[in-house]
């Protein structure tokens, strides 16, 4: 069953088009990574999923119209934005009380447990916490909700590598317990690549590429080609090439692996590398 269905979704923000006809369908239980350059429309898409942005076209999340039924929808959806959105004056205890008060599916003990593991005290004020701890607080609140869909919009923006790892470890541990669907937009997609079931690339307000992780592994391959073999490799129709020390790295979509192996070692490209290749090529709807 699909938890998100978007067909021809368009949105305009400040008089400028932010989404230009998004088509996407996400089945329940999937973990979807959304990647895009700044201003590509990722945040607008995710905010539209939780009813914060009005869109044209068809958009259903868990069978509801997010804009019209936001309050009802948010009983089943958790949303985490970047660390800057949680008010600095708020005490952790206030946040937990408030979630407990307004959210029928909130498990206070679970959140308290996650907070204790993160070293965050209930008496702490958000303004006194580090960015990393604020991110952990937001995640602890979101994971405390027994939701069917978790939407994360750049949740680790501005965090250092250690805190990002802690954040994603907590997220994955929470996800393993709950079995929800997850949609996550992040620039650090490589750090969670191993748990993604799907990747979606957004550019210019459109989905320019989407596939499952399995498909990604089957279709794409990278090879480091020495200069003397570059013409042979180019003749095989690479998707993208980039310079590196002592040659070039070429990426192929559905390349002939047996022939390519003769030119060098094959490897699976990272999601970020694939993203760069596709955006560089200004990929069209044919993807």
């Amino acid at each position: 069953m699909s938890c998100v269905i978007a067909r021809g979704v368009r949105a305009t923000l400040g008089g400028r088009p932010a989404l230009n006809g998004i088509d996407i369908e996400i089945d329940e239980g999937r973990v979807v990574g959304v990647m895009g350059l700044n201003g590509a429309g990722k945040s607008t898409l995710l905010q539209a999923l939780v009813g914060l942005v009005r869109v044209e076209g068809e958009l259903r999340v868990l069978g509801r119209d997010p804009w019209r039924d936001r309050a009802a929808l948010m009983r089943q959806v958790s949303f985490v934005a970047d660390v800057a959105v949680i008010p600095r004056w708020l005490r952790v205890s206030n946040a937990v009380e408030y979630f407990d008060g307004v959210h029928p599916a909130f498990d206070r003990e679970r959140t308290s447990d996650l907070l204790a593991r993160s070293g965050i005290g209930l008496g702490d004020r958000v303004g006194t916490l580090s960015k990393g701890m604020i991110a952990q607080l937001q995640l602890a609140l979101a994971l405390g909700v027994d939701s069917r869909l978790l939407v994360l919009d750049e949740p680790t923006l501005g965090l250092d590598a250690l805190y990002r790892k802690r954040f994603f470890d907590t997220l994955l541990a929470g996800f393993a317990q709950g079995g929800q669907s997850v949609v996550i937009a992040t620039h650090e997609i490589d750090e969670i690549q191993h748990v993604l079931t799907d990747v979606v690339f957004v550019a210019g307000g459109r989905v320019v590429f989407q596939c499952t992780s399995d498909e990604l592994e089957e279709r794409f391959v990278e090879i480091h080609v020495h200069p003397e073999h570059i013409d042979i490799a180019r003749a095989m129709g690479p998707l993208h090439e980039r310079p590196t020390i002592g040659g070039k790295i070429l990426m192929f979509d559905r390349g002939e692996r047996d022939r390519l192996r003769l030119l060098g070692d094959l490897r699976r490209p990272s999601v970020a590398t694939l993203f760069t290749a596709i955006v560089d090529n200004d990929a069209s709807d044919s993807w």
Binding site: Q47, V50, V53, A71, M74, I86, L90, F99, V102
Partner: protein, 273 residues
């Protein structure tokens, strides 16, 4: 929905503690000064002539009246400032994205915000007024002095503060609407058009009805230059107000404006970069 609204109101009070701290602090300060002055003066009344006593009692009654008006005016100003901050603050610090990640509708959130000037501030004001009267009565006890006490009973005080809140509700709702739309200088943007309209009316038609209406719906109810203070506040001034169609027309206007505020709040998140 009621539960969500009560929690939303609670979070407004967490965020804007000053909405109850400032009226309580200013009110208690004014009451303390009034009580001290009253206590010192009534102590010196023993052996004074009747005329001198009557003069002092008149002055002390006026002082109590001014104290209560200070409490009421402070409440109104605090409510204005709160309304200006209520939605604009959510936009400024982007916290609306956090609050809207919860199953609380915009209508509920706006209703909770409207409850601050319409319920919370009046309750604080009422408590301070009753405290002022109680302190004054204790200060004059045993001296055979009867002050003319404005809003003399708790019911009269309660009627006054809540009727006044309803009377001012269109202005509160208007400021909330501007707070939802404006990016900065909310109070200036809320009052400037009204002031310009009042000036145009004065310059072109030689009338001041807009200016008077604006002043009357704001602080004018407690600040009437030229009128004796105690006389119009001693009994039940709110009764006339509650009977007036103007008050209920204003309440309807405020309700419609609050619906517009809820609609406007829906669009704030989309305008945040």
């Amino acid at each position: 929905m009621v539960n969500a609204m009560l929690w939303s109101l609670r979070r407004e009070l967490w965020e804007h503690r000053w909405t109850w701290l400032v009226p309580a602090a200013v009110g208690c300060g004014a009451v303390a000064i009034d009580t001290a002055v009253t206590g010192l003066n009534v102590a010196g009344l023993a052996g004074a002539t009747h005329a001198a006593s009557a003069a002092v009692v008149g002055q002390l009654s006026t002082l109590l009246d001014i104290t209560i008006r200070i409490v009421l005016i402070t409440g109104t100003i605090v409510a204005f400032v709160y309304c200006a901050e209520a939605l604009n603050g959510e936009r400024r610090d982007r916290s609306i994205l956090f609050w809207n990640s919860l199953p609380v509708g915009d209508g509920t959130a706006v209703a909770a915000k409207a409850c601050v000037p319409l319920c919370v501030v009046p309750v604080i004001t009422f408590v301070v007024i009753v405290l002022a009267q109680l302190a004054t009565r204790i200060a004059v006890a045993g001296h055979g002095v009867a002050l003319r006490v404005p809003l003399a009973t708790p019911s009269a005080a309660a009627a006054e503060v809540f009727a006044a809140a309803l009377w001012t509700s269109p202005v509160y709702a208007w400021i909330l609407l501007v707070s939802a739309r404006a990016r900065r200088a909310v109070l200036l943007l809320a009052f400037l058009p009204l002031i310009v309209i009042a000036m145009i009316e004065r310059l072109i038609f030689g009338e001041t009805s807009v200016a008077h209406a604006l002043f009357d719906r704001g602080l004018g109810r407690y600040w009437t230059p030229g009128l004796p203070l105690v006389s119009n506040m001693t009994s039940w001034p709110a009764l006339n107000l509650l009977r007036s169609p103007a008050l209920w027309t204003g309440v309807i206007l405020a309700s419609v404006t609050l619906l517009a505020v809820a609609q406007q709040r829906r669009h704030i998140a989309a305008q945040i970069p």
